[in-house]
């Protein structure tokens, strides 16, 4: 039985072009750092992938550093910029309250173990960054300012050019985690004014295990991974040739139809909300109202009086995949820190489900969800009386 998959924000199926590109490269032998012909043949694939990906995000190929994914890119950006900053008397880190844990936890770690002074800039009830508070927080001692391009839970898109400009005013390095944005909405690194941009392949139809950090060439970044000096001494490690090819192929596919896909998913998301509200009239959508302020396919909805875990379990059993806030490492679900930062109570946060659409989503997915929701919600409400 095939599943109704509504968790594209977590990961999305690989597009056939990416699978083919990888399959072709898997049998090639040659370390892309080696000097001989076999090495050169791998390096050619890596460099062509680099050029293709960089072009699609408005970056120069030399600005693109391959990593193992979004988490590594975020860690390298935040820690690398901070450590370089401390060499010139900059020991402050500014970020938002709604970042992904790859940024939040990296920042917190720097606060605990590296004596960083950390500021978390708040957001409003729609998840929009408080730009005035940001301007207050950034100063001549700021090393790095990190604000995500678009939020993975509620879909809010941030005013990134303003963030970059504010950072630049004070000579601070600006970084944006664009993991949810690249391939789905327009992302142009050069136009943004940013110093650093992270994204990953598996959120846009490519393979797991590879991502990118776009970094201006004149930036000083302290490496996290030391070793053979690959990626201009910033990120050592043998390059995953096949994954790079898959990454490039996926982004090419996504880039080629981004505008029409964006339009399609915005429409489908509105239909999803409409169907959910028709089935459960007392459900409450969380996040921004205006289209231009949000990702096309991501929707967070609260079901007052219910535990979202219970709904998720019942939908899972009905063949539907969706998500709630993160789980801790023991598997116990936690209320979304994003919703809490937006001002929702813990109970409200624990009643929220996230549905996210992607390139394989269709109107029948929406219909299936609407059909399964009433019973799932009714049972979840009944179960809410017990723990």
């Amino acid at each position: 039985m095939s599943r109704i998959y509504l968790d594209h924000a977590a990961t999305t199926p690989m597009v056939p072009e990416a699978v083919e590109a990888m399959a072709r490269e898997l049998t090639r032998v040659g370390n892309s750092s080696s000097l001989h012909a076999s090495g050169r043949s791998s390096r050619r694939v890596v460099e062509e992938s680099r050029e293709a990906i960089a072009a699609l995000v408005g970056a120069h190929p030399a600005e693109l550093i391959f990593t193992s994914g979004g988490t590594e890119s975020d860690n390298l950006a935040v820690k690398g910029a901070f450590w370089s900053g401390t060499e010139i008397g900059r020991d402050r880190v500014i970020t938002s309250t709604i970042e992904h844990h790859a940024v939040l936890d990296s920042v917190a770690w720097l606060g605990h173990l590296a004596a960083a002074e950390v500021s978390y800039v708040p957001v409003d009830a729609a998840g929009q960054l408080d730009l005035a508070a940001l301007a207050n927080a950034v100063d001549a001692r700021s090393s790095v300012v990190s604000v995500m391009w678009a939020n993975n839970e509620v879909g809010t898109v941030q005013p990134i050019p303003q963030v970059a400009a504010t950072a630049a005013e004070h000579g601070a390095i600006s970084h944006s985690d664009a993991v949810q944005a690249v391939g789905h909405i327009e992302v142009d690194f050069a136009a943004s004014g940013l110093d650093l941009l992270s994204f990953t392949a598996h959120k846009l139809g490519g393979p797991y295990g590879i991502g990118a950090l776009i970094a201006r060439r004149d930036l000083r970044l302290t490496p996290v991974l030391h070793g053979g000096g690959q990626e201009r001494d910033i990120r050592s490690g043998t390059l995953n040739v096949a994954a790079a090819a898959g990454f490039a192929a996926a982004l090419q596919v996504a880039g080629g139809k981004r505008m029409e896909e964006e339009r399609r998913l915005r429409q489908l998301r509105r239909e999803l909300l409409g169907s959910v509200l028709a089935a459960v009239p007392w459900a409450i959508p969380y996040g921004p109202a205006a289209e231009e302020d949000r990702l096309p396919g991501t929707l967070s909805i609260g079901f007052p009086g219910c535990s979202a875990d219970a709904i998720l379990m019942l939908l899972d059993s009905a063949g539907i995949d969706c998500s709630t806030g993160a789980a801790c490492s023991a598997g116990v679900s936690q209320p979304s820190h994003v919703l809490l930062a937006m001002g929702y109570s813990e109970i409200e946060a624990r009643s929220a489900l996230r549905f996210s659409l992607g390139h394989t989503s269709t109107p029948s997915d929406v219909r299936a969800l609407a059909a399964a929701l009433p019973e799932a919600v009714q049972r979840a409400k009944a179960a809410a009386a017990f723990a």
Partner: protein, 357 residues
């Protein structure tokens, strides 16, 4: 039926879940997160429900191909089991938290939530047997007498038993481990957890001290004469001999045992072994697996998790039992459960409130 299989990460609950799947039920695995501060890994046989245990349970569920979730019941567990445990010790009694957990958490909070979500029964790896005739369910001792856990399940009522499922009741533990191996469950070789699940390092006295503080008091003999001092009455249980550290030996040279714990005066009373002999047990808050007892009943009672059953006659008045034992066992501790058996069948359970010679 739709079965909610409680999976602790141990071998018993994993095999129980496997058998439920094999029996054709629609099984969902659930790991109960009961600790507020779970340890990262399980160190040997101590404690339970560390993150490693959650992982082991998840892995077993994956091997069985069933959905798996973690339910956070740590707040209720803290209130219903841990707080009760500490309060009972503070009151001079010896609680049995596993009984409380079955009563309030596993077959209550979990079961109620499960039923509301559409499940028909909760399945566990307990060693006990259920027999069904029509709508009636009987709880019996397990086939493996050494592993029999009917004692801690005696607190369940008829409704709870109707919605329980114990696939391991007719098996030997050794065979269960072998079966786990055959089914490709990595937990086949995992040691069983002993002691109390929320005291991972096994230091009950230390745990209680951290909760209750150190309250030194007197140790007195049966005549009331002070014979020593203790560092906290919660370190002792009726029948205990170890840890008394009495400076002077008894007049008759015989060992002395804890005969009574009086928290109001923070006093431990010690006496010779025969002062421990109990003929009458008073018990309160009974629960029954079927209906309540007839007013006068005789059968067998068990006063410890792995104690010997003893013949007794029981009088029930309101919610109070007076149990007259044929023999005169020693070391019956108030606070423990007394479980009534008719042969292998569990009739009911109550909490020991007092004992008399």
């Amino acid at each position: 039926m739709k079965v909610l299989a409680a999976m602790s990460g141990g071998v018993d609950s994993a095999v129980a879940a496997a058998r439920a799947v094999e029996a054709g039920h629609d099984v969902t695995g659930v790991h109960l997160a009961l600790s507020k501060n779970p340890q990262a890994y399980r160190s040997g046989a101590r404690g339970c429900c560390s993150k490693e245990d959650a992982h082991d349970a998840r892995r077993a569920a994956d091997v069985l191909g069933i959905p798996f979730y973690v339910w956070d019941l740590s707040d209720r567990f803290a209130a219903d089991v841990v707080s009760d445990f500490v309060a009972e010790y503070a009151a001079g009694r010896t609680p049995n938290p596993c009984v409380r957990c079955n009563e309030k958490i596993k077959f209550s909070a979990v079961l109620d939530r499960g039923v509301a979500l559409g499940f028909d029964a909760v399945c566990t790896g307990h060693y006990a047997r259920l027999t069904r005739t029509g709508n009636d369910v009987e709880l019996h001792r397990a086939f493996d007498a050494a592993k029999d856990q009917s004692y801690v399940l005696g607190v369940l009522n008829a409704d709870q038993l109707r919605r329980s499922y114990f696939p391991l009741g007719s098996s030997l533990k050794a065979d269960v481990r072998a079966e786990a191996r055959d089914r490709g469950l990595a937990v086949a070789n995992k040691p069983d957890s002993h002691d109390i699940c929320f005291i991972a390092n096994g230091d009950t006295a230390g745990f209680l001290e951290s909760q209750l503080g150190r309250r030194a008091g007197d140790i007195v003999d049966l005549a009331g004469t002070k014979v020593g001092e203790h560092a906290g009455s919660h370190r002792f249980t009726v029948g205990q001999r170890r840890g008394l550290r009495l400076g002077t030996p008894a007049a008759d040279g015989e060992p002395r045992f804890v005969v009574a714990i009086t928290p109001t005066t923070n006093t431990i009373t010690v006496g010779p072994r025969d002062a421990l002999a109990v003929k009458i047990i008073n018990a309160i808050r009974p629960t029954w697996t079927a209906g309540p007892l007839s007013a006068e009943w005789s059968g067998q009672v068990q006063v410890r998790a792995h104690g010997q059953p003893m013949n007794a006659s029981v009088q029930l008045q309101d919610e109070h039992l007076e149990i007259q034992l044929d023999s005169a066992p020693t070391g019956v501790a108030p606070g423990q459960a007394v479980v009534l058996y008719a042969g292998s069948r569990v009739v009911g359970s109550a909490t020991i409130s007092a004992t008399r010679a």
